[in-house]
Symmetry: none
Subunit: 232 residues, 2 copies
DNA sequence: GGAAATGTTCAGCTTCGGCTGAGCTTCGTT
DNA sequence: AACGAAGCTCAGCCGAAGCTGAACATTTCC
């Protein structure tokens, strides 16, 4: 996951915090990232670096995100775009963009953004390096179908449970601290403490990790790991 | 580990004790270190020396560590940052920055800081001089998985045992005094005496060094060494 | 608008790791 | 061989970390 450049991304947002948050964590996930603060810069950089995908805030100081998307597409046939929008659905333009590509509402969780980016790249590049189906031990997770099996038996998970398990599976074999989990799986504006992670790990265990050998391990004082059965 | 400049670091903290502690021990570990006391100086020096990584206290007298990080990145595309933060998670700014790169909470142990610095450099430079998996004799330690094997058999270690073994392995073949071990493996505010080191060496031996040939040796009146089997 | 599902907090309980101190062993010196 | 210093190990205490059930809040979906 980390050692390879998965794709080149252009991140466009005028809020520095969001820009930093996205660019840093996308880099950590192996993407090459360039950032722009407004539409003008976005066009400039896009021309220069020819990104595989653009992450684009709908509200920009100088021009409308849709206008930017339009001009990006004029420039290069079909440039995939992932829009970032405010949560309140009052904006009627949002209806239109539902169709266009894909979008994520603010405040988002990093897991959400990463999942969408991978989905878009999978579609537009037929990229099989980014498999839609994850497997660890006898646990299987299908991103597109949004479904999980343990030993072939389907398991019903709530959205948060699903995101948490997904995060575990993408990082299987790697220790994840509660803070790290909180930062990736929960929305970036979540104010609560890490206790909620404990709760959800508990739920997850109950639903997918009741049988031996156990896959989710607690490392006291460190965090959690999802470990495939043979390697422990 | 010692004979080569691993990387150039900029350490930014207004507390002289922390600054000295870090810069001295980072130099001993082979890094080239420049220090700054506030954000203004940090920007100045960063421009001049182009560090490979910045160790940055979140609370600075003149500006927010976050702001400094932002301006550092503006200056040089992607400048990796390791944040130092206070333990209490009540600071709401922390929520955002946790994600950004990596962070260590005060009071830290030097082992912790060094491990994080190496991890960040490994990621950002694809640096394979700094392997994630250590090996001495038939002892293996995986930092990411936070796991240890002896002769291929997994061993469960507590966090402190793990840090101690890690310190031994990074310094294998080198004699380490109890004071040195205390300074590196325990938090800098630890008040206790060196007896605790004896205890933990004892625990470690029981868990990973029961079989011949023994790897952990006592040098009476001097300290301990982890020595690979052939070279003694 | 109401029911069901999901998300979050909290408190009681359990488990585990960190540390200490005491008693014992080993080592080196005379 | 005898002594003291250094090191080893163990039992036990304490507090921190983690688990889970239940209460409460919020959202979603009919």
């Amino acid at each position: 996951m980390l050692d390879r450049v998965e794709a080149r991304l252009l991140v466009v947002d005028d809020e520095p915090n969001i820009r930093e948050l996205l660019s840093a964590s996308l880099r950590l996930s192996g993407f090459e990232v360039v950032t722009a603060v407004d539409g003008r810069e976005a066009m400039q950089f896009a021309e220069r670096i020819r990104p595989d995908l653009v992450v684009l805030d709908v509200m920009l100081p100088d021009m409308d995100g849709f206008a930017v998307a339009g001009r990006l597409r004029e420039m290069s046939g079909q440039m995939p775009v992932l829009f970032l929008t405010a949560r309140d659905g009052t904006d009627d333009k949002v209806a239109g963009l539902r169709v266009a590509d894909d979008y994520v509402t603010k405040p988002f969780s990093l897991e959400e953004v990463l999942a969408r980016i991978r989905a878009v790249l999978r579609r537009t590049r037929g990229d099989l390096d980014l498999p839609a189906r994850l497997q660890v031990g006898d646990l299987e997770l299908d991103e597109e179908a949004h479904q999980v099996w343990r030993s072939g038996v389907p398991v019903r998970l709530s959205p948060t449970e699903f995101k948490l398990l997904h995060y575990f599976m993408v990082n299987s074999g790697r220790v994840l601290s509660k803070a790290q989990i909180l930062d990736h799986v929960w929305n970036y504006d979540f104010g609560g403490d890490a206790g909620v992670v404990e709760s959800y790990v508990s739920y997850l265990r109950r639903k997918v990790d009741t049988a031996e050998p156990r896959l989710i391990h607690t490392l006291r004082g460190v965090g959690y790991v999802l470990r495939p059965p043979h390697s422990d």
